[in-house]
Amino acid sequence: MLLSLRWLARYVDLADIEATRLADDLTMTTAEVEGIETSGAALRDIVVGFVVECGKHPDADKLSLTKIDDGSGELLQVVCGAPNVAQGQKIAFCRVGVAVPIDGKKPKKGKIRGYESVGMICSSRELGLSDEHEGILVLDTDKAPGTPLTDVLPLSDTLIEIDNKSVTHRPDLWGHYGFARELAAMYRRPLRDALEGLKVALPTSGETVPVDVSGARGACARYCALVVQDVVVGPSPAWMQQLLVSVGARPRNNIVDLTNWLQFDLGQPTHAFDLGRLHGPRIDVRYAEPGSTMRTLDGEQRELGAFDLVICDAQGPVALAGIMGGEGSMVDERTTSVLLESANFDAVTVRRTSMRLGLRSDSSARFEKSLDPALAEVTAKKFIAMLAEVAPGARATGPLHDPTAWRYDEKHVHLRSPRVSALLGVPIDEASARGFLEPLGFSLREKGYESFDVAVPSWRATKDIAIEEDLVEEVGRCFRYDSIPPQAPRAEVQALVRDPELVLLEKLRMVCAYDLGMHEVYNYSFLDDALCARLGLEGEDYVEVTNAIASHLRRVRRDVLPSLLGSLADNMQRHDEVALFEVGMGYRPHRDIEGAMGEERQGQRLPFEVHQLVAVRARRSAAPPYARLRGDYEALLARLGIAVHEARLPTEAEARALPWMHPRRTALFLTKAGATLGYVGDLHPKTARALELDYSSRAGSVGGAAALCLDLRVALAAAHTDLRYEPVPKFPSQPVDLAFLVEEAVPVADLARLIVDANAKFVRRHKLFEVYRGPGLPAGKKSLNFRVELGSDKRTLNTEDEERYLDRVRVLCKERGFELRG
């Protein structure tokens, strides 16, 4: 929204205050200023020219050949296409090399139809002054040629741009008058009345049009209607056009311009119907019949619903209430009588229809803010008062007709001055509170000790002032928040409530990045359909966004891993080896198979939220990364003090829920309590192929990709981060190497158990250091080679102890069907 200082000057004298200070003060107390611009700057180099000669262009019917005196002492030949150019005129002249305000283009010296033309005579439109482009602008001035145009026309203005978002809660600030009131209060200056100096010629009786608002069911608080006759539609006065252009509106004709001007002036939208084209004539404000249609004045056919408030004549809708008029009853050159509507429509109703139709107008933007119904009457009166100048001859032929008989039911708020000081944190005495509030239109009446009854003016009562804190804000912003000295709060010392999950997570992230050398990625919570298709995730049960940013981003992810696989595939296009991790939430609709339920509130339930840490590794060459990633997983579990109770292949159902993982090359980890910690494994060959990560299946290539997932809630429940010190052994360890020859199907865990079973007391540690397959071994067998450390707390073990241990291992091997080699 643009504020014109020239416009504000109608209501408050601010001429001695610099625009930058005004802008700063507004920003600090009222609304955010986005910038200051000076209109007329583009017109600085346009000068007054005098048409010394004007004749027909010898080779073009519609062109004139003129000689212009631009004050330079030399007569310039200029070819002009305007029909109204004539000898003896003073015109606005754009010299060669000077930018034409409307588009910034600079006329060059050149020939038009064979005749040299040096410069350009401008129309109002080319000067950016109005839409008038029928002919050149003829100046009524006695200033000499060469005088800057800005000295002739009142063009220079300073415009302050207000960020609309900063005044959404202030319905009173959607016109110049509201800002004038703020500034007058701020600088303690008198504010002129909105109607000051105007004569309101309203008959007390006469012609009216019947208005019925009963069908609006409360959505039309006020409807002021006024009949105006003897209207001659034509251009509005130049000053009005210029003000409209300066705040970004397009002048059209005197009646429409006046309604627009009032909207920027007082903030109240009004609508002028061509009375001759209203059927009845009568006005019904009611909700539309579902399926009915109307054509708005932008030429669009609009389909209406039962929640759209419309203005109807005897035949049907003629306007979308508070949004836009209808084409059939719009004012144009033929109009001779007008019905003025100055009404108040419900904010929510207007907003809903405007959103539904995607039709936002200056009018709907204002009604959406909950306008003051009192403003409707003032604006109608101002319309009549200004008509004499804007449309000479036109007059109201009847009284202001308002069937609602609206009266302001004054709102009162209780204000305790100690509360003001306490909330602001600075002492504010009663006199200053009064001094801030009264100029803004509040009236204060003492009511008991240190407290007031505050009457709220109608223009602040619809929305933003309702409770004591709202008044504290008024006092605070007038005092200016930046004048409040900072003060340290006094608070009790409290122990921090640390969420163990967050503490753990912070550490695990560091382990992943700094121990394991992986890079952290953040992916969207939305799962792209294209990625789903690549991963074969079509038929799953997802929480879906009903108004997605794009139709392919409507799924909310169930698991974090699929998106990370996407990141992996992208990065592997550019790198030979990649290790990534991500921490995030997956969402399962509450009817999920796991039976886990989300949070419940009044019958409504959130989806079940899983908190996952996932990681992926891929390599284009060297050994496939599974073993490394499994090592990463074990390192993470070791950091958490979690002993895996069981590691096994996923069941068929479990594998179905992880379609991106290889069903036979994925290890699922379970805790002692039976909860699934997560999994680590190779990618499903189909997934690997779809993501082009299937290096080992290509000729002469190795490498591949693996993934892991850790459920953080399960991990937290299973974690033993508290540890107890064990004394460093006093007696040395005795290393023993064991090589077992076993069938392929025998799991490592079975031999690990055997090693411990052979003598739980002496086995300090054991470690699988090699799995050997190949030459020298029978087909279908593998050799599992362990290093075992034997030791005791009581003495140094000797060879006999070692022999006894080996004997025991041999016995157990025999019992369990394994072969001890060497």
């Binding site: 959406e368 921090l496 919570s525 966004v545 108004n547 990649v578 509130r601």
Partner: protein
């Protein structure tokens, strides 16, 4: 025999001096002092001498042996020194040759700023809390004094879900959740992921990261808010900064402010930067959290994390944060 001894000594000394390396020296040692060495053999011939001659000659031979051993030792040290000097000289070491690459991972810049902010606020007695990203309409709107008719609820801003819930549009729902769970007094921060239905470009994202802050106690004032904000900004930015509070409207605070920081990164620019919206917690929000607004007051603030990171590192495209591109992520490896 003494002549013989003299000639042996002479040739031994000559051989020892001529030995160029450890191996040659070993040969000299064994050919004179070894089991079949010249001096050893001479000593064996002692028996052929008379009793009177023996002690004197024996001493001569022993002295010669000791002298030769000393000479050999001396030579050995010299040869080793020469060999070491040569070895040091002959090194193929290249001081510019890099070592084996150790793969170093990185934390996402948003994670890093989150951890940093948590440290700063824990120092001020605020604790870290979270809330669900898929949220009830109640906590995201109603409880925050955003009634059903409020424009903020429009579908153009909020992602609505098929189950009637929504993706939270800010971290502010955690305010009410924290009040309900922990009561008052309360000092809490809640960093996290939020969503707005907005078209993505270099400066706009539909997924963004905020940090909510909330302090509730007896008699908390705007003066307290300014103090705490100044303190935390000094910590975050690493220097004293000028801040200014100006009116801003957010339904869940009253009064509400925008807090601007002057030249936040000390570049010398005379510019105010809008950094965080804040305000005094609205009485309706306190009530929704189960607290009596007459007994408790508080302030709340929100900090845009991407924005903070972008300003700090000069990042110009907000899409980089979720792009997952290693060429971006790898740059944030410093601890």
């Amino acid at each position: 025999m003494p002549e013989q001894l003299r000639s042996i000594i002479a040739s031994a000394h000559e051989a020892a001096r001529g030995a160029a390396d450890a191996a040659a020296l070993a040969v000299v040692e064994s050919s004179f002092l070894g089991k079949k060495g010249a001096l050893t053999l001479l000593l064996r011939e002692l028996g052929s001498l008379s009793k009177e001659e023996r002690p004197a000659f024996g001493k001569l031979v022993n002295d010669a042996k000791l002298a030769l051993e000393a000479l050999l030792d001396e030579r050995r040290v010299a040869i080793e020194a020469t060999a070491l000097a040569a070895a040091l000289e002959a090194s193929d070491f290249d001081a510019t040759e890099p070592g084996l690459e150790v793969p170093c991972g990185t934390l996402h810049p948003i994670t890093q700023i989150t951890h940093e902010l948590v440290r700063v606020f824990e120092g001020l007695g605020f604790f870290w809390a979270t809330g669900p990203e898929v949220e009830f309409e109640h906590y995201n709107f109603d409880a925050l004094n955003i009634p059903a008719s409020h424009p903020a609820r429009d579908t153009q801003d909020t992602f609505w879900l098929s189950d009637g819930n929504l993706l939270r549009t800010h971290t502010s729902p955690v305010q009410v959740r924290a009040m309900q769970r922990f009561g008052a007094p309360l000092r809490v921060i809640a960093p996290g992921r939020c969503f707005r239905n907005e078209a993505v470009d270099a400066t706009h994202e539909h997924t963004f990261y905020q940090m909510e802050g909330l302090m509730i106690d007896r008699d908390i004032s705007i003066a307290n808010l300014i103090h705490v904000m100044k303190t935390c900004l000094r910590e975050i930015l690493g220097r004293e900064v000028r801040v200014r509070l100006r009116p801003g409207f957010f339904p869940f605070v009253e009064p509400g402010f925008e807090l601007d920081v002057h030249d936040p990164f000390g570049t010398g620019a005379d510019r105010w930067l809008e950094l965080l919206p804040c305000g005094m917690v609205h009485p309706n929000v306190l009530r929704a959290g189960g607290l009596d607004p007459e007994a408790w007051t508080g302030f709340a603030f929100g900090l845009g994390l991407q924005r903070l990171v972008m300003i700090r590192y000069g990042i110009t495209d907000i899409r980089d944060f979720t792009g997952g591109d290693l060429r971006f992520l790898e740059q944030f490896g410093r601890v």
